[in-house]
Symmetry: C2
Subunit: 231 residues, 2 copies
């Protein structure tokens, strides 16, 4: 059986979510089978944030290539970068990666297209909401990405790093995020919202918010990895 490689630690709670989900989803698909082999390289999130804050995207891409090489050396057959924000440098990393990669953005776009959505909201870190990597991939499949207003983006980004990454999940923040999704529905006619940060499914559970279906990028990414593993 193939070995799945994960670049983790971005942040640690979402790495736990990926790991548990890979094990449990695999067990549900193949209850008598052996568990999948998984190699996790939990990297220095603070360095990643310093690169993003300093707009040092070449350094960031180089960092991921080096960390992916460790997974390749350990025998991984393909790899996932278990976070949305680093996909800002995905194309560059993929070109130089020693391993095949599965993109969280491509996997999510495939899922949204299968559901027949045309207008999709995106929440995540400020880096993710302001970058072009989601709109470009979705546009190729004739879907349009809508992001929150600037002040709403500030709110999400601030809560993301001061609470969610640290494993703090407050009802007040849950309501605040749902209200932003409701406003995007009224303003932009979004038919679904992408939880485009892998800490977001840890606070917005249950598959919908304000009546809008949620696309849990962690679960979608895990599903794509297991399809590759078994297929």
């Amino acid at each position: 059986m193939k070995t799945i490689g994960l670049i983790g630690g971005l942040g640690p709670e979402s790495t736990v979510d990926y790991y548990r989900s890979l094990i449990n989803t695999h067990r549900a698909l193949d209850p008598k089978g052996d568990p999948p082999s998984i190699i996790i390289n939990s990297v220095n999130m603070e360095y990643v944030l310093r690169c993003l804050e300093g707009k040092r995207l070449q350094d960031l891409a180089e960092f991921f290539v080096v960390e992916l090489q460790k997974l390749a050396n350990a025998g991984a057959d393909f790899a996932l970068i278990t976070a949305n924000t680093p996909h800002i440098v995905f194309d560059d990393v993929e070109r130089r990666s020693p391993l095949p990669l599965i993109s969280i953005v491509e996997a999510t776009a495939d899922r949204a297209q299968q559901s027949g959505f045309e207008h999709v909201g995106l929440i995540g870190t400020r880096f993710t909401m302001q970058a072009t990597f989601y709109p470009v991939v979705f546009a190729r499949k004739e879907m349009q990405i809508h992001v929150p207003k600037e002040s709403e983006q500030e709110y999400i980004h601030e809560r993301y790093f001061s609470e969610l990454v640290k494993g703090v999940f407050r009802d007040e923040t849950r309501r605040g995020l749902a209200e932003i999704i409701a406003r995007m529905r009224d303003r932009n006619g979004i038919q679904a919202a992408i939880l485009g940060g892998t800490e977001l499914p840890l606070i917005l559970r249950g598959g919908e918010a304000a009546g809008v279906p949620l696309l849990d990028t962690t679960q979608i990414h895990v599903g794509a990895a297991l399809a590759r593993l078994i297929g």
Copy 2:
């Protein structure tokens, strides 16, 4: 900074416990520092169990040497096997390991000795309770290991694999384990009980049971790893 290697998946919930504890304990020790680099190789627990059930200890040792080589290839500086039972082959694995290893048994014996204990109870899987690897290491430091009676061992082993490894934690089982510890206190005069299976701290929390101090082997192992990382 050095990179910690973990052989995980034995079982997955305890791997999560190790990972979170490494991250959180490190953050508490060094709040402004970068998180530690951790490589986790989550291996096939079913194969390990087949080796144990079939008493194929040479195959088991060989398996860990191969899996440790993957961590070495990925750049780990030293490694932990994140479970008690596999320490049945620790001496053999350590001799052939490409990486320095930290033994959960040695780390626990050091802690017990620092606390001045002389008689210590041990609960874990049947493999661990019936093997000599705990008594031998503790005897070197002039401490005596006491294990439950055969029928009690059966109870613990059965609950371990039917519930704990699957992430099922029942109050009834918690009480059953505490009663066994109480009987060992009355019978053998144990001054502490080793939670000698890394799923046990997930059900026996709080540091004591029936008034007997508990030695959480996961936390002790993590502490030894961080001492090596920082020292």
